[in-house]
Symmetry: C2
Subunit: 150 residues, 2 copies
DNA sequence: ATGCTACGTTGGTCCAACCAACGTTGGTTC
DNA sequence: GAACCAACGTTGGTTGGACCAACGTAGCAT
């Protein structure tokens, strides 16, 4: 989208935070464009993928697993349910909870979106060799792991 | 039931896009907290740092260099000018333009914020050796450079 | 029975990013 | 010089992701 390449100040363009931010922004944009083809957004994908992967769960649990706030889960599940990709049912074992399950259509969509994500991934990492991709993944995982337990 | 699930689905937590997004989010959060101590935000820092580094520039030029939209530059410069960190003056050579310059106070603030950024940087990269930091920087730079021209 | 916690939900806030449109000004081209 | 088009600053939006406070209901422990 940037017709004119942003020239980022020399002092900033070398800092890892800047690089991370820019690269992640680029990845997010590519993903967002990919998701748009499915008429869905990031939250939807995360939830759908988690459901398709790990099976039914309560909304709070989904939120915890995806790192999405409870209140945001409500809206996203509303969307997904409205499209028949997901079903909301009261949990007979705990009436506070809703059990969310992916429908067949939902599982389908999750697969298709997964393919989209992989395509984007390949696009993003195109300039890197397989070894370098592993390297990057490893470094980022280390950073994340270190900081995720606060 | 509530075995406090790990955040992030297994299938997602290995994808570079997810890792990038999460890591950048973490970095952004740390930066945001750091900036809050100065009662400023990301846009302000980018603009101020660019001004302090490269000297006065028009708003459009600033926006181009920082990757900030013209309209957002207006608001941010308004804030900075309101604090006396920056001065807006009409360009005698081109009356369409405003020349933005950092004041002494602005340059001071830029230095202090730069120190904050470095602190955050060190915090973020704590788990990585110097070699690994270089590696990460190199990989991200490669990615960014590749995607920024096309 | 009391109190504490978890759940779903409503209704916000915030920041970063982007876009459309307008009036003004500069630079070209006739 | 007049007619155009491009660039500038500005206003006033929209979007996506993330977060927060509060409420009523429901489960759990004492």
């Amino acid at each position: 989208m940037d017709n004119t390449a942003p020239q980022s100040p020399a002092g900033l363009s070398t800092t890892p935070t800047w690089l991370l931010n820019q690269t992640a922004g680029h990845a997010a944009r590519l993903l967002s464009e990919g998701f748009a083809a499915h008429d869905l957004r990031g939250y939807h994908y995360r939830l759908l993928a988690t459901l398709a992967e790990d099976g039914p769960a309560s909304q709070a649990d989904l939120g915890r697993r995806c790192g999405i706030d409870r209140s945001d889960v409500v809206a996203a599940i509303n969307d997904l349910a409205g499209r028949g990709l997901v079903v909301r049912a009261p949990d007979p074992a705990d009436r506070r909870r809703n059990v969310i399950s992916a429908t067949d259509a939902g599982a389908d969509e999750a697969r298709r979106m997964g393919a989209t994500v992989e395509r984007v991934q390949a696009d993003l990492l195109a300039p890197l060799s397989a070894t370098e991709r592993k390297q990057l993944t490893r470094l980022l995982t280390r950073l994340l792991h270190h900081h995720s337990r606060h």
